[in-house]
């Protein structure tokens, strides 16, 4: 019975950990949203890679609301890189903290 109790407690701790990680990721995902010229974009690797590879300084892109937006490539790229690194750095820092927390009771 002692082992069963131990396993139950372990399962509970893992559940709390999984929920905390999912909540953290949701929060970080929301921080990735940036605006440009009235449109909203997700500052992920795809956007950064696409803007990096494009040569023209101005282009049209479809935003998260499916609206075509005129984009200043360099301005959006700079903002996307800033938002991306800010969000992922926060994710890294808080995830490292979360890993060392055995039980959510300790948070």
């Amino acid at each position: 019975m002692e082992k069963v109790d131990q396993l139950e407690q372990y399962a509970q701790a893992r559940f709390e950990h999984a929920v905390a990680k999912r909540n953290l990721k949701e929060r970080i995902e929301a921080e990735l949203h940036i605006t440009h010229n009235g449109g909203m974009f997700r500052a992920d690797q795809n956007l950064i890679a696409f803007l990096n590879s494009w040569e023209d300084s101005s282009l049209y892109m479809i935003d998260m609301y499916d609206n075509p937006i005129q984009v200043d490539r360099k301005t959006l790229l700079t903002e996307a890189k800033r938002a991306n690194q800010y969000a992922i750095n926060s994710y890294y820092t808080e995830y490292e903290q979360l890993k060392t927390t055995r039980r959510a009771k300790q948070v």
Binding site: R27, E29, H33, N67, R103, V107
Partner: protein, 276 residues
């Protein structure tokens, strides 16, 4: 209804509006607390819409605008808390008047109990959308308790949430709020048409119907692109400090604990009031 007090003249173009009318629950206290959070994280002026009784028994000095609404609505909501059941008059009926009551050109309309702990809503003031709201809820306890709230009822239209709505003074938003009012006035008819329980008026349902009809039928063009984080009324707040809100909830006779430090819609208003 009249705009009783204009406490100063901050930038009128953008701001936050909350409704706070006390019943058995002290909604004004929650709104006061949220006002401080909004000013800290969003740096925007805040207007509160309240009634004479609530205003007279509260300190409203932190709000940039105090707008009076003494309309009577008879709605009752039952909150199921861990050890008790609380039935309280729920004065939510005038939400559809927010369009005419707001002093701002672009407004973030919030439930007072949706605590703002980040600056993420700032982005919604910079986009070319006349209205945005949430289509999905994130149950932060991980139990997915709101999965049945994806539609007004199993075989009808998708549900949106009126907890946080960003809108412009525009023809579209004007019409959406006008239709919400119409839905409220003909609640029985619309409940039969869209097959949901008519017992309690819900702003979420009125907004869902208005957006469904005016938004091009079946589009999701008004979606805020992240989920609405919500702490269910089955969870009890046990700590609240600069690290966020710590809660506990019971599942299969075990207590589960978590902490959130993000914008969060608190359903257990009673335990929130104890901590603010």
């Amino acid at each position: 209804m009249n705009n009783l007090k204009l406490q100063d003249e901050p930038n009128k173009s953008k701001g936050v509006v909350m409704f706070a009318r006390n019943s058995k629950l002290d909604y004004m206290r929650i709104a006061q607390h949220n006002c401080k959070l909004i000013k800290q994280h969003l740096q925007l002026p805040v207007a509160v819409i309240t009634d004479t009784r609530t205003r007279d028994e509260s300190d409203t000095s932190m709000f940039d605008y105090v707008i009076m609404d003494d309309t009577e609505y008879n709605n009752t909501r039952v909150f199921y808390l861990k050890s008790e059941k609380l039935a309280t008059p729920w004065l939510n009926g005038s939400r559809s008047d927010a369009y005419t009551l707001t002093p701002f050109e672009r407004t973030l309309l919030l439930d007072a109990d949706y605590l703002i702990m980040s600056d993420r809503y700032k982005t919604l003031f910079d986009i070319d959308q006349d209205l945005s709201c949430h289509y999905d809820v994130l149950d932060v306890t991980g139990q997915n308790l709101y999965k049945t709230d994806q539609r007004l009822s199993p075989y009808t239209i998708p549900m949106v949430w009126a907890t946080a709505v960003v809108f412009n003074k525009s023809e579209f938003a004007d019409n959406v709020f006008a239709l919400m009012k119409l839905v409220k006035e003909h609640w029985q008819y619309y409940s039969a048409l869209y097959q949901f329980n008519r017992k309690m008026f819900r702003n979420d349902f009125a907004l869902s119907i208005a957006l469904h009809i005016l938004g091009g039928y079946g589009t999701e063009a008004f979606r805020i692109p992240w989920r609405l984080p919500t702490l269910t009324s089955r969870a009890r707040i046990i700590d609240y400090d600069e690290r966020g809100i710590k809660y506990v909830y019971e599942k299969q006779e075990r207590d589960y604990v978590g902490r959130v430090q993000q914008d969060i819609h608190i359903m257990d208003k009673k335990s929130l009031v104890d901590f603010i």
